[in-house]
């Protein structure tokens, strides 16, 4: 490691004016470019709320539950590429935020979460609303701090923002004892020096790049598998990914987190891969000879059974986090670095390399892929008779088409968030994203209740956009209190509920793996969502048959305020294709529309049942 002077806590100049800790905190947030804080007040953070009251530079959005504050900050961060900011009180405020923090950690979302803490002299005394916040959040954050000395306050805030957004992004907690917020503290500006220990590698190694290009040029059956790392590397990384596909002619698939980095409507795009990925994407992964993973992490939802995952292929893995490399799947060529820089280096080396690709082999590979595509694994049958029941897939397709028409007509951009379950997978399969930062979903942690607050954060960040939470009726109810926040701040978020009166994905697994014993997965005693919307001063609407669907979607888009659209869909519909847990990529179950030879369910095993 190079010898760079350590940035030890800067001693304040003697002449410098001391301010209250809470004011120093806000000054540091302003210097870091914070425009909005999502938060909820309480005893320990009252000094911060008092300071917020007396200024106008930073806006505060009052949520109705701390978990929602974190998800809203995630939606804000993911739709803008900026660091999201959260403020909660001590004890229950902090513990309520934990789910959101872990969600952000798993999905690599940059956040800074300020938590109140009891005064330093009471720490450890089981004081009122005390929690060991740094202890509780240690495995749920990228890093956390407890500020015990006033002179550390400003430095810690600057450091927290640096850590949150550098390398693989993630959430950072700053625990702030009340006496630090009230007492005088010096201000120190953002440091110019490098962090003393945390300096993630972003520039790729040239030797590995050269090896990667040689492997890619010699590929007969290549595949590019891109993930959320491309989104995190900024829109320029998506442009470079498109350029690489254009240059190479390779097929490309994407993880759930990576959707939008490559335009879904392009003919080189095979759709999402993994557990509910397309037949062609999974078989191409299974049969490829060279795989280029850009910013994805070989998650178990993607790989299926590891010892059957793409056997014999040469695997190239670009990741900014060295611990993601060789964690689940041993790779042949490891490139540690930022996705944008690595793609740039690959394209440069590609042009410099004079070897030509095996065009014949590539054409044969595409012919094979086209045969896989021809089975149309996402096929479903929608009746168009009056009064016909709505298929959830059709509801998503219509939502996609009508928002696209709306965007073409008005220029209003569409941002989508989801909750977790069947509706999430259908959204990933049938909503064709073609730009990065437009799709927000809880991928790693799978947090029901993510979508509504995330949409709220997207709408705060993009006031002119059409922000839609594609939801299920069960997930929606996990954070539906945020309807009040939407009304308060006039955030016109649209909640598009695919209401099948079941926790659909739970029901699907019970049907496939537990003898159709639907234990506790029925959504009993549902509220009337139309009246619920009205109770929150929003607009409620409902579609119960296919002939009503388009009108409801159009009315939802046109409504000026928040909307709940209750779309009553086929209760029995399952999400296909599906690779059951513990099965290989070529052990896929296809839907009822398909030849049973292709979907014999042989992937369903007792060993797989034990997996999640």
């Amino acid at each position: 490691m190079s010898t760079i002077t350590s940035s030890a806590p800067a001693k304040p100049a003697a002449t410098e004016e001391m301010e209250a800790g809470a004011e120093v905190l806000l000054r540091a947030l302003k210097e870091q470019g914070v425009e909005v804080i999502f938060g909820y007040p309480g005893g320990a953070v009252l000094p911060i709320y008092d300071a917020i009251f007396q200024q106008n530079a930073i806006r505060h959005v009052l949520v109705r539950h701390e978990q929602a504050a974190v998800h809203a900050a995630e939606g804000y961060a993911r739709s803008t590429g900026k660091v999201g900011c959260v403020l909660v009180t001590s004890g229950p405020g902090a513990t309520n935020a934990v789910t959101g923090l872990l969600d952000a950690l798993m999905d690599s979302i940059p956040l800074v979460c300020l938590t109140g803490q009891v005064p330093t002299h009471l720490i450890g005394n089981d004081a009122f609303q005390e929690a060991d916040t740094t202890g509780i959040t240690r495995p749920a954050t990228k890093h956390n701090y407890l500020v015990k000395k006033a002179e550390d306050l400003a430095r810690v805030v600057h450091e927290a923002f640096y850590v949150a957004k550098s390398g693989r992004p993630g959430p950072v907690v700053i625990d702030l004892p009340k006496d630090i917020l009230i007492g005088r503290a010096p201000y120190t500006p953002k440091p110019e020096t490098l962090h003393r220990s945390y300096r993630p590698q972003t520039a790729p190694d040239a030797v590995q790049i050269a090896r990667a290009v040689a492997a890619l040029k010699g590929a007969k059956r290549p595949i590019i598998y891109s993930g959320g790392g491309v989104i995190n590397a900024g829109p320029a990384a998506s442009e470079l990914l498109i350029k690489l596909v254009r240059t190479s002619g390779f097929p490309i698939t994407s993880t759930l987190m990576g959707l939008g980095a490559y335009p879904s409507n392009d003919d080189k795009f095979l759709g999402m891969l993994g557990m509910h990925g397309t037949y062609e994407a999974n078989l191409a992964m299974h049969g490829c000879d060279v795989m280029l993973n850009v910013g994805a992490r070989f998650d178990d939802r993607v790989t299926g059974r590891l010892n059957a995952f793409s056997i014999g292929s040469t695997k190239i893995h670009i990741d900014i986090d060295p611990s993601s490399i060789n964690k689940n799947v041993p790779v042949d060529i490891a490139i540690v670095g930022d996705a944008r820089q690595a793609l740039e280096a690959i394209l440069e080396a590609w042009d410099a390399d004079t070897t030509t690709q095996d065009a014949g082999a590539l054409a044969d590979w595409w012919a094979q892929i086209n045969r896989w595509q021809s089975i149309k694994c996402l096929k479903y049958t929608q009746t168009h008779e009056k009064g016909g029941i709505i298929k959830p897939q059709y509801a998503i397709e219509r939502l996609y088409q009508l928002t696209r028409e709306h965007e073409a007509k008005t220029g209003q951009q569409t941002f989508i968030s989801t909750e977790v379950g069947q509706h999430q997978m259908w959204a990933a399969q049938y909503f064709r994203f073609d730009q990065p930062n437009r799709w927000m979903t809880s991928g790693g942690l799978g947090t029901m209740g993510y979508g509504l607050p995330a949409a709220m954060g997207m709408q705060v960040a993009n006031p002119g956009a059409l922000c839609i939470d594609i939801s299920g009726e069960a997930s929606f109810m996990m954070n539906m209190q945020e309807m009040a926040t939407l009304t308060q701040y006039r955030l016109p978020v649209k909640v598009f509920i695919l209401n099948n009166q079941y926790m659909g994905m739970v029901r699907q697994w019970q049907e496939l793996l537990h003898g159709s014993r639907y234990s506790e997965s029925y959504s009993e005693a549902l509220p009337d969502f139309v009246k619920l919307a009205e109770a929150f001063n929003g607009t409620g609407m409902r579609a119960t048959s296919v002939d009503q669907l388009d009108d409801v979607i159009r009315a939802m888009i046109a409504a000026p305020g928040p909307v709940i659209a209750d779309i009553c869909v086929d209760q029995k519909e399952n999400c296909f294709p599906m690779i059951p847990s513990g099965a290989a990529h070529n052990d896929m179950i296809l839907g009822p529309e398909h030849d049973s030879k292709l979907s014999d369910g042989s992937g369903l095993t007792d060993a797989g049942m034990a997996l999640v």
Partner: protein
């Protein structure tokens, strides 16, 4: 790099140079427990003046893939400066200290003293019915000494866990 597919379990001595700040040991230990890695031994102490940095020595075991993963996970902790796999990077020295209490009288007592001499252990406390020996050496030498004292009234053992360093001029 040795093959990642190799499934044999090997022992690894890993040294970690960390910023000496509150919670850093909890981060390291939490990483091991949270991800299901083994800790066979762990030592930690400041190694720079004015509380600048501390060195943690961890003896762990796992397949090559797991040990590579442990190193990568440690290296991405924010207060970690550097991670070195002493077992893999070259020859190294590892030493451990033990305080060993033997209680007894008569023949057992003289035999214990004689063995201590043979093993080059020092007597650091003595009463008419007990000795405390201090011994520094490699882990297996300490194990051997403790084993021979077992039938001679071994009462209590306190061990430090290993401190380790690379041989030669190679630095951390």
């Amino acid at each position: 790099m040795t093959s990642l597919q190799d499934t044999t379990i090997r022992s690894a001595t890993i040294s970690v140079l960390v910023e000496n700040e509150a919670g850093v040991l909890a981060r390291v230990v939490g990483l091991f427990s949270g991800r299901g890695y083994n800790i066979d031994s762990l030592t930690v102490a400041p190694v720079e003046g004015d509380g600048g940095r501390s060195r943690i020595n961890i003896v762990t075991s796992g397949t090559t893939m797991v040990i590579e993963q442990i190193k990568a996970q440690l290296d991405r902790l924010v207060p970690v400066h550097r991670v070195a796999d002493l077992t893999q990077d070259g020859p190294h020295i590892a030493r451990e200290m033990a305080l060993i209490k033997v209680v007894g009288t008569g023949m057992n007592r003289t035999e214990a003293l004689r063995l201590a001499d043979a093993f080059r252990a020092r007597v650091v406390d003595a009463t008419i019915e007990s000795f405390v020996f201090e011994m520094t050496g490699q882990t297996d030498k300490l194990d051997a000494f403790i084993d021979v004292l077992r039938p001679l009234g071994l009462a209590e053992v306190s061990r430090t866990g290993i401190a380790a360093i690379a041989r030669g001029k190679r630095g951390f």
